[in-house]
């Protein structure tokens, strides 16, 4: 397994949906690769940050996207 393959498999790894031999190769690679260690860590932080978003933020997003649709509509109309 090399780095370019590993970055596509991070969610499979975190979901525990890998066969045991692939999992072993994944962990072996990460143990010897600083770049992939950093990548895996950033993936975990990203998931944690998403979990900190409030429900209000989701609602605001939907409202903003709707407003931008109206803005586009008004400028093109």
């Amino acid at each position: 397994m090399n780095c370019i393959q590993l970055v596509d498999l991070v969610t499979d790894y975190l979901e525990g949906s890998m066969p045991a031999d692939q999992r072993a190769r994944f962990e072996e690679h990460v143990a010897g690769c600083d770049g992939c260690t950093t990548y895996l860590e950033q993936f975990r932080i990203t998931i944690r940050l998403s979990g900190m978003l409030s429900e209000e933020q989701i609602a605001t997003d939907a409202r903003e996207s709707l407003l931008s649709v109206f803005r586009d509509w008004r400028t093109t109309a």
Binding site: N2, C3, I4, Q5, V7, D8, V10, T11, D12, E15, S17, C33, D34, G35, C36, T38, Y39, E41, Q42, F43, I45, T46, I47, L49, S50, G51, M52, L53, E55, Q57, I58, A59, T60, D61, A62, R63, E64, S65, L66, V69, D72, W73
Partner: protein, 194 residues
């Protein structure tokens, strides 16, 4: 009545993913209950009642959201193309022919130097929120259910009626893009402060 009380908060949160205001979300939830009551006779018990209710909710909310924002087409295509969308720009890896082909040419710079309070700041969260908002709709709804609302994989698969593999692919692409947005955001900020 107990059923309504138990599911109402979660149903509202999900409805809010698709529509613009709380009032419309409340409407969607109400319409869902009407749909549930109407369909109850035909409910065959092949899935749990909860799964079935959330499936009706998602469909009701999607239809309503589409009507609200007619110019944003919701993707009806669920099958993800496995060849599309690499997690990381391929130019960041050593090219074929190089002795260490496929290994990082430009590895990600760690975020350890970013202070914790900066990483968890409102501004960073706003960046995460913007990145999620910019995702294709099918990736967006999966990452919101899984990572923002914290639903288990089985619940998301059931509510959206998608396979485990498909859910994992959509979730991975969504996370990879949010990570990339954060890398750009935190990186450019470091340069400004340097």
């Amino acid at each position: 009545m107990m059923l309504v009380e138990r599911y109402q908060p979660a149903m509202l949160r999900v409805a809010m993913m698709y529509v613009s205001t709380r009032a419309v979300a409340e409407d969607v939830v109400q319409d869902t209950w009407v749909g549930v009551l109407k369909g109850l006779d035909g409910f065959e018990g092949r899935s749990s009642l909860r799964t079935w209710i959330f499936r009706i909710l998602v469909n009701t909310a999607k239809t309503r959201g589409q009507r609200e924002a007619r110019s944003i087409p919701f993707s009806s295509v669920w099958t993800a193309d496995p060849d599309a969308e690499p997690s990381v720009d391929p130019s960041r890896f050593l090219p074929p022919g190089h002795p260490a082909s496929g290994h990082w040419a430009e590895p990600p710079a760690g975020w350890e130097s970013t202070p914790e309070e900066r990483l968890l700041s409102k501004e960073t969260l706003a960046e995460v929120s913007r990145a999620i908002d910019a995702l294709p709709p099918n990736q967006r709804e999966v990452i919101r259910m899984r990572d923002v609302l914290g639903w288990p994989s089985a619940d998301v698969r059931n509510a959206l009626d998608i396979s485990e593999t498909n859910q994992r692919v959509l979730l991975h692409r969504a996370r990879a893009k949010v990570r990339r947005a954060l890398e750009g955001y935190l990186g450019s900020e470091r340069e400004r402060n340097a």
